[in-house]
Amino acid sequence: MKLKWNKLKIISIVFVLAVTSVGTLFVLFQKNGSIGDTGLIAAGAETKPVMRAALVNGKTAASFQAKPDRVPGMDKTAENDALALYMNKTTAELAVFDKRSGRIWYTNPQDRDKDSKASAFEKQGLASQLSMQFSDSNNNKKTFLSFNDAVDKKQFTIEPIADGVKIVYTLGDMSAGIDVLPKLISKERLDSLLAKLSKEKAKYVQNKFQLNDSKTVYKRFDDALKSSVRLQKVVDAFAEAGYTAEDLAADNKANASGASSDSEKVVFSIPVAYTLDGDNLVATVIAAELKEPKKTVITDINLLPYLSAAGLSDKGYMFVPDGSGSLIYLNNGKFSDDIYSQPVYGADEAIRKRLKPQHTEGIRLPVFGIKVGDSAMYGIIEKGEALASINAEVSGRANSYNYIYGSFKLRSWDELPMSNGQSFNYVQIMQQERNNEDLSIRYGFLYGEEANYAGIAKSYQQYLVNASVLKQEKGGTDLPFYVDIVGDIPKQKSILGVPYEAMEPLTTFSEAEQIAKEMKDGDIDNIHMRYLGWFNDGVNHELPDGISVDRKLGGRSGLAELNTYLKETGSSLYPDAAFLDVYHDTWGFSPAKDASRYITRRIIEKYPYDAATERMAPYLESSYLLSPAKLPPVVDGFLKDYSKLGINGLSLREMGNHLNPDYRINANLDRQKSANVISGEMSTMSKVASDILVSGGNAYSLQFAKHIVDVPLTDTKFNITDETVPFYQMVVHGYVSYAGQPFNLADTQDIRYNLLKAMEYGANVRFTWIYQDDSKVKDTLFNNLYSTQYKSWMKEATSVYEEMNTVLKDVQYERMTGHIALQEGVYATTYESGKTIVVNYTDNAVQAGGQTVEPAGYIVLQHAVSESGRGNNS
């Protein structure tokens, strides 16, 4: 009897195979245009969520690929002029064959079985194309790997699509559980079912049910079904007897027992499309078809973690866009340090942090890459980049590979404090709605001369130019000089000993004009004046849904006069406005309605962190985060008034700098939507004020910004990283002019150091100035402006600007093409035309390009210098 059963099983498997292969053949024929409608139907039938493996190599593979494989063991699934996509249909591994170089990029390391470091489990992990974290209703967080939890169990389907292939991974335990058996079943119905089975099997099944006292109803004997082997036998027997889901429902209904257990099956279905687009591979998680159980939710998806995997013998580096950019040398042995894992566009401020988070430079551009030998690969996070993180790991921790990849955070969680009177317990709350847009990463491949981070920068720059994000607009011939002028700040005064806050003007409009005049006298002609604190009460002004220019500073007419003066003398004015941080609780702004909220539904009111205690300091000025949903009406109100001022420039304080979501219930706006709102509003603003200056310069703001200040000129210097590189600068130089921190308020006020740094990074001179005495800022919240009196800096500023202008004037509209470390503290930056600037931060004179570079000095060469001085890793 047992034998007969097995035969049946074999027959059914063969049948399934036959059906699926015929289906695939139809699809293929349809592609070739030989069969029409029938093919469609067959393909449609096949795309149904068939949970068991749909395709098995063998007959079907042969029909896919007639020619001998260029990638051994894999079948070609898509091809264009530059690339060919290959796939192994049993392991779901993919490979990209690059026709230009013959290099094959595998999604999973091919020599993983020989990895001595990786455990057996880890080796299976290395065979995964994606991994995901999820959280159940009790906030237990677990991880599923696409190989271990889907491919290995044959729970995936492959579907050819235009230019590629779609793989639907079904992760989780798919075996039919106890729930397919009725909890209660009437005696006659069970007997009729058992009649269809062999005697032996019927007895086996009957033993698993108990007759009740009245001898009319059988009750499922759950204790006897605990073993999965026994359960499977009974389930199979029921299936054999033709017991269907409808029967189950009928039985449940007849005996008034609901679904027998309320535990939901933890099964996720993640469809990923791998397509070739020109010389890029694009991996897309198709969000609309993403399926997850109701109470157990996906929190993170790591996409193609091992596409970049480089082994122990490989030489090169991984590039992470931390700050200006950093390199992690392959096999640098720093596996005991924290892995690199940073969110794109910096940390989410709408997740409450009880302690001050580590200071990081943040990620401004969603790009990462790896250089392995003489080839390189990069990834541009194209869709869902605001939800993404970039992660890099060096060999030695869990396995012998160095790899870098993008991951997406679909849901965040926060802690809700619950008080029982004496103490607080923290309960985890999961974000309710998630982003429902596609998530995709575009991978590109570079070889030879191009295979380094400068090549990656060039490719990304080209990508941005093609998307018309970067546009080259030539301005003046002299370099811009950025000067931040601070208008008025709040200062505590007292009347009859009762303290109150009043506005203290630090620079009025006419005084600003005076400063500009003195700059002109020092031959600084191309002034870009960013004016902070000019309307609605001070630097940290009230909600900018309208403009009332400060009267103490000279009012509307004073501002117009300043603007006219600057315009006539070839300079520009950028009045600064903060839209996203709201510092005052005024009539137009109701925190309950207009401020963003935490996942715990509390209104976000953030205080600066106290440097000593690292906790939020309630005695400092707090601010709300304006919900991105409320941004459009505020911007409209602002622009209505702004257009009357007739000023062409506008400075945006946080729009290119911070990106925060609103977790408001039923009106959730995640970071991606928030970024879309912000870039949309910037577009609206650019119609009124065409010359926009932003601070920070996140990728989504690049399209509208002509000037960027506070550009990162360094990286965070994480332990795992090895070298700082000007990647950001290589992408934007020549298209957008930029400056770092003000020279007089930077981490060091050594003007010489700031000059060298600006020379190396192609940045412009920037100062923050006030007209009044420095002592005016004492005992105010703005005491960080302690060294800003313009007279004390004017002489140095003029000479620094003159030096910079002589050196960088003719390359300001050129691309930065190379940057090398000749030795520790000596760097050479090369521009398109070959002009090279070598800076020396060290205390000793060094030789470069046949010339001597003085300590703390620089030289200008008209040709590139060799990379010989580069560390041992290239």
Partner: protein
């Protein structure tokens, strides 16, 4: 008559036994004047914080807030009066609440009279001469306490011992009132947390 009322407090502070007798039985005391004295004391204290000579002034001018003087003068004043009334009403004191207020108000007059000259003096004396400054100020406090003692003894018709006992009890009662106040505050806070937690439990019900 009006003038009499204004000069009366100055006579009272030098002839306390007669003065307080007149205050109670000849109705020479006025509550309004007591309040004016209290108000003047607040003003003098604010001026002192700001203008006492640098050598003797230990206040950080950035942290000064006149509203604080209400906390340190006006609140204790009324707390004292309420406590004293609460004690004496149980101990056969004859003083009415109004008389307690008036007495206490009149009794602090010496503070004003002494503080103003010492404030001016502080600008002309050296650190070594601090003894004088401190002596006069302390003397003013003892003067005021003496007046308070005599005043309460008179309005309640107590023996000296009884007066000292009730004054001591008054201080204890002040402590009790503050304690109960804090207790209520803390309980209200706990109740608030309780309801907040219930609200959260309901909101995040799933």
């Amino acid at each position: 008559m009006k003038r009499d009322l204004l000069t009366f407090p100055f006579r009272l502070i030098v002839r306390p036994f007669d003065g307080f007798w007149d205050l109670k039985y000849e109705e020479k005391g006025r509550l309004t004047i007591a309040y004016i004295i209290l108000f003047l004391l607040v003003i003098v204290q604010i001026l002192r914080n700001q203008y006492v000579g640098f050598l003797y002034n230990h206040n950080d001018p950035r942290a000064l807030n006149s509203i604080n003087e209400l906390k340190f003068i006006v609140v204790p004043f009324f707390l004292w009066c309420v406590s004293n009334w609460s004690v004496t009403v149980l101990m056969d004191g004859e003083g009415k609440f109004k008389e307690i207020l008036t007495t206490t108000g009149y009794a602090v007059l010496p503070l004003i009279i002494v503080y103003v000259p010492t404030m001016i003096m502080s600008h002309f004396i050296t650190v070594e001469e601090a003894a004088f400054y401190n002596f006069f100020n302390t003397a003013a406090v003892f003067w005021a306490l003496w007046l308070l003692f005599v005043g309460l003894m008179t309005v309640h018709q107590y023996t000296p011992l009884m007066t000292i006992v009730t004054m001591g009890l008054t201080l204890i009662v002040m402590g009790i009132i503050i304690f109960i106040g804090l207790l209520t505050f803390s309980l209200v806070q706990q109740i608030q947390f309780f309801f907040e937690t219930i609200y959260r439990e309901i909101v995040f019900w799933s």
